[in-house]
């Protein structure tokens, strides 16, 4: 089971469509159409992990793919939790 945290240089906030990520290194944005499936940590407490809201199996797979994409972009960091 993986847990995802924001990278130290990443910011994220909740929007109607999902999450809006911001990379402080480049000032670029990434729009993620995740709806309510993915919840960003509070702005003032970025150390907390992103929360995946359980839905259908298909939704869960889609969110996992999104998180892997964000990890590849350096916006989130995955850690194995047991």
């Amino acid at each position: 089971m993986k847990t995802y945290h924001l990278s130290p240089w990443a910011r994220a906030r909740q929007e109607q469509f999902g999450l809006l990520f911001y990379d402080t290194r480049s000032t670029t944005m990434t729009f993620v159409r995740s709806g309510a499936c993915l919840v960003a940590p509070p702005f003032e407490d970025r150390a907390r992990p992103l929360r995946i809201v359980s839905g259908s199996r298909a939704e869960e797979l889609r969110v996992t793919r999104v998180l892997e994409h964000l990890e590849a972009k350096g916006l989130v960091v995955a850690t194995e939790s047991h």
Partner: protein, 342 residues
């Protein structure tokens, strides 16, 4: 990035341009803030500045673009920068570079979440000085050198592209590189004193077309405000759109007055003042913000590039045509056949 999301209504700006002082030690001929500064009713004091930063953090605004006037004329500006950075907000400072000293450069190198943009309007002294004032080229380069010697990491040199410095774009790019700085090319807009220099400084159609090609070939060059007629697919894919006013951005004047964007700081576009109301409420509810968000440039809607540029910059359209609903007058499609710009 799906286009529909870039035009989605956001619950807060992504960045806020904050003209934090009405004081300036230069008198640049195309100053876009000139009218705003002349009409300003003083500056927010430090406590009010910190309160506004608290609110921006609560709104989850990612970035503040500080300008002026010249921000470093405020004795408390470094403290304000540090306060914003402590909240995790990225700070981008637009400065004329003439007030940089070794001591100030040492301080700036020690700050995090800081991008510095130094304005320089030509690759040669005579070109820059004709716009920014006699002797400024040398003073600006001295300031840039101080930062370069300290390997300041996030430095850019910004040139507002006009008919008088257009021919130096290539040399300007080389000059920036010599100081380890990125090149930023900004569009000249007829805002503030720019409106009085519009006919003299505006680019010709041929120059605009050349610039579009140049930017398309140089993805490393920053263009904070879009030259919306870009022809290069990579630039398009960066999601450049012509206007983020009242959607992704808004502007705050020295006295706390709020506008839809830094290029629309005329009284007609005043949305409110942070001394009277919260920025969140002004951004969400001010009628002029809604006007900008709902703006539809009807003559452009049949164009195949409409989804990319959405009609261009309303500020340029407004100041040239006195209408918000008309196409950006600098759209290349207006004068050049599609086959030449597609």
């Amino acid at each position: 990035m799906p286009q529909s999301l870039t035009s989605a209504r956001l619950r807060a700006p992504v960045n806020v341009t904050w003209e934090i002082t009405d004081r300036c030690n230069l008198g640049c001929r195309h100053c876009l803030s000139a009218d705003l500064r002349r009409g300003s009713r003083g500056e927010l004091d430090r406590a009010r500045c910190e309160a506004l930063i608290d609110e921006l953090a609560a709104m989850q605004v990612f970035q503040i673009n500080f300008g002026g006037g010249e921000p470093f004329l405020r004795p408390d500006f470094l403290d304000i920068l540090r306060y914003a950075q402590a909240k995790g907000i990225v700070t981008c400072v637009s400065t004329n570079g003439t007030l940089l000293t070794p001591a100030l450069a040492d301080e700036l190198v020690g700050l995090e979440l800081l991008f510095l943009q130094v304005s320089l309007d030509g690759a040669r002294p005579e070109t820059n000085d004709a716009i920014r004032g006699a002797g400024t080229f040398e003073r600006i380069i001295e300031g840039v050198s101080l930062l370069a010697r300290r390997s300041f990491p996030d430095l850019s040199l910004n040139m507002v592209v006009t008919s008088t410095n257009f021919h130096e774009i290539g040399d300007f790019h080389l000059l920036a590189g010599r100081y380890g700085a990125r090149t930023r090319l900004s569009r000249f807009r007829p805002s503030g004193d720019g409106s009085r220099m519009w006919e003299q400084y505006r680019l010709s159609r041929e120059q605009l077309a050349w610039l579009s090609e140049f930017l398309g070939e140089h993805a490393e060059i920053l263009t904070g405000d879009s030259f919306f007629s870009l022809t290069n697919a990579d630039r398009r894919n960066q999601g450049l759109r012509s206007c983020g006013a009242a959607r992704m951005t808004c502007a705050v004047g020295p006295d706390g007055s709020v506008f839809p964007c830094a290029f629309l700081c005329e009284p007609a576009f005043l949305a409110g003042n942070v001394a009277d109301d919260s920025l969140a409420s002004i951004f969400e509810h001010a009628p002029i913000m809604e006007v900008l968000r709902e703006l539809e440039v009807e003559p452009c809607q049949t164009c195949d590039r409409f989804s990319l540029c959405n009609g261009g910059c309303p500020a340029v359209a407004y100041f040239v045509t006195e209408s918000l609903g008309l196409p950006d007058p600098e759209c290349l499609r207006v004068a050049i056949p599609r086959t030449e710009v597609a």
